[in-house]
Amino acid sequence: MTITPALLEIEGVRKSYGGGVTTEVLHGIDLSIQQGDLVALIGPSGSGKSTLLNLIGLLDRPTEGRVVIDGQAVDHLDDRALTALRGKKLGFIFQSHHLLPGLSVLENVMLPSAASRGGFQASMRAPAKELLSAMGLGDWVDAWPRQLSGGMQQRVAVARALMNDPPLVLADEPTGNLDTETSNQVFDLLRQRNAERATAFLIVTHDPAIARRCDRVVELVDGAVVYEGAPSTMKSWA
């Protein structure tokens, strides 16, 4: 029997902030994500979800504990190596789209590829267009972000997160600013990618409907995991 290494493994991760008086916001988190997982990270505001997502996304470093991505421990990597690993292994979707307004829709999608290859190149256009077509935005490649609706912008952000075909995508409230119908459309796109390419997703959400559609739910309260399992067995759903 072959044991597949976890795509993401975090062990005993703690994170504190502050100089004189320190506040610990994460108290020894353990979490494992395998290829093809679709995990919802839920919890009340201030429970440490975004902090955890930043640690997993290599945008921040834990005060204590270990983060391993695709078999590589990141504790001792310098900023350059972390940046390279982030570009290769991780995709990001943020709540407020965060498209670059000075770049066209197509350039926004090409951005992760341009970052890893040192500049925008003609060869990046075809895969970026393909992704945009898959998101239903094939006619908007040369448009500017400001010309798009909120839902369309979030679909561009999804396409951007998938551009380098990362094995793990971190989504921070990807449907937070969208109406129900658009939220479902965006989630369907994530689901579809998960099914087709076994891309793993860790989705921070406040929306129970979205969390219920994931394979697994991790509930964080006051910086600690209070539940991890299938959505159907979660007691705290009201």
């Binding site: 921040d60 940046t83 982030r86 570009g87 965060h98 000075g102 992760p112 970052a115």
Partner: protein, 397 residues
């Protein structure tokens, strides 16, 4: 390359802001070019006026020391009575000295010459003149008479003489007219073959240029010369070269810089004030660029966070803002040079000298402008590169 591509897109996105600061850089560089061109033109003009009729370096033996005129109880008293023509010592082995001056680095032309005071007569008119005797080909490389000739021709053979406009007018003589020239008890009759206007009233009114042989005979210095004049490639190196010439020849040597101390002090003061103006202009340009880019970093915190999140390195983020400084500098230098040159062109007609925007000045403006842009962009760029991406995305301070 990504840094440059993003820099261009950032500038394009903040078009109004970019155009405003570009206008500032353009005005600054235009002022830099304009002021530099004017001061340079003025200095070139002053130097031309000054050096147009004098050698950069003059080598001549000391005047004979005063002789004791009376002795009293063994003590000699020196009394000096200014003679009408200070008697110079003979220039020993002047041909060898000429060769040594010619062999000195930086010297581009050498002319042995005889000069001395005399009186010129034509009819009832008489005028004190400075007889200058030299070889025509050598002299023209020291004092450019041929270009400034307004009548006749540049020729110094036989009894030929060339005079300035004012002297010709005083004597009432024109080309082809004979004049008598007397120095002490010697007298020659010379014929005017050319009249020049060298732009210097003293020279125009005093100089009577003739062949070396004529002057030697007239001034009683047969086979001798009074000085060796030399021209150097870089006028500001004249003093150093003069010292070298003196060491080589053993004959007292004087540069134009010694003869014109006041002018030199004036030129140096002008240089200092021009440098101050340039520095203040460039400081204003630098502060303009720095403030706009600092605001840009604050405004784009979220975008910088996203760039870092998608795998853009700190070096690229640093480069994005440095490139913006370079682009401001490059385009500003191009437009500013154009505006500065046009402004120079506009006032040239009312100025009394040429205002020339040289390729060297344009290259300097380009280098200075780009360097200012990069230096001004450095601090904002470093701040952008050091942003914590997580905090930047959250929008924290």
């Amino acid at each position: 390359m990504l840094a440059l591509q993003l820099a261009w897109r950032f500038l394009r996105e903040g078009r109004t802001q970019s155009l405003l600061i570009l206008a500032g850089v353009t005005i600054g560089i235009a002022a830099f070019v304009f002021v530099s061109a004017i001061i340079e033109g003025l200095q070139v003009n002053l130097l031309e006026q000054t050096l147009g009729s004098q050698a950069h370096i003059s080598v001549s033996p000391e005047e004979a020391p005063p002789r004791p005129l009376m002795r009293d109880r063994g003590v000699a008293f020196a009394r000096r009575i200014e003679p009408s023509e200070p008697r110079r010592r003979p220039f020993d082995q002047w041909q060898r000295a000429v060769r040594r001056v010619e062999a000195t680095d930086g010297v581009v032309a050498v002319c042995p010459k005889v000069s001395g005071s005399a009186l010129a007569y034509r009819g009832a008119a008489e005028e004190a003149v400075e007889v200058v005797g030299a070889d025509a080909a050598r002299l023209r490389r020291i004092v450019d008479i041929p270009t400034n000739l307004i009548d006749g021709q540049y020729r110094l053979g036989g009894d030929d003489a060339i005079v300035g406009t004012s002297l010709a007018e005083t004597l009432g003589a024109g080309v082809g007219d004979p004049i008598r020239v007397r120095s002490g008890d010697r007298e020659s009759v010379l014929r005017i073959v050319g009249i020049f206007d060298i732009g210097n009233e003293t020279v125009n009114g005093r100089w009577l240029v003739t062949s070396l042989r004529n002057a030697q005979t007239l001034l009683g210095r047969v086979g001798d010369i009074t000085e060796i004049d030399a021209r150097v490639a870089d006028v500001y190196e004249a003093e150093r070269i003069a010292r070298e010439v003196q060491a080589r020849t053993g004959v007292p040597t004087e540069s134009w810089m010694e003869r014109n101390r006041d002018l030199l002090t004036g030129l140096r003061s002008q240089d200092a004030s021009t440098t101050m103006i340039r520095v203040f202009v460039l400081l204003a340009v630098a502060m303009g660029i720095a403030s706009v880019l600092s605001v840009s970093v604050v405004q784009r915190r979220g975008q910088i966070g996203i760039l870092r999140a998608v795998g853009t390195s700190r070096a690229v983020v640093l480069g994005v803002f440095l490139w913006q400084g370079v682009l401001f500098g490059l385009v500003g230098a191009f437009l500013g040079s154009l505006v500065g040159a046009l402004a120079g062109e506009l006032i040239e007609s009312s100025a009394l000298f040429d205002i020339t925007v040289t390729p060297r000045l344009l290259l300097t403006a380009l280098g200075v402008s780009v360097a200012t842009g990069v230096l001004a962009a450095y601090l904002p760029a470093r701040r952008a590169a050091r942003l914590d991406p997580a905090a930047a995305i959250r929008g924290d301070e």
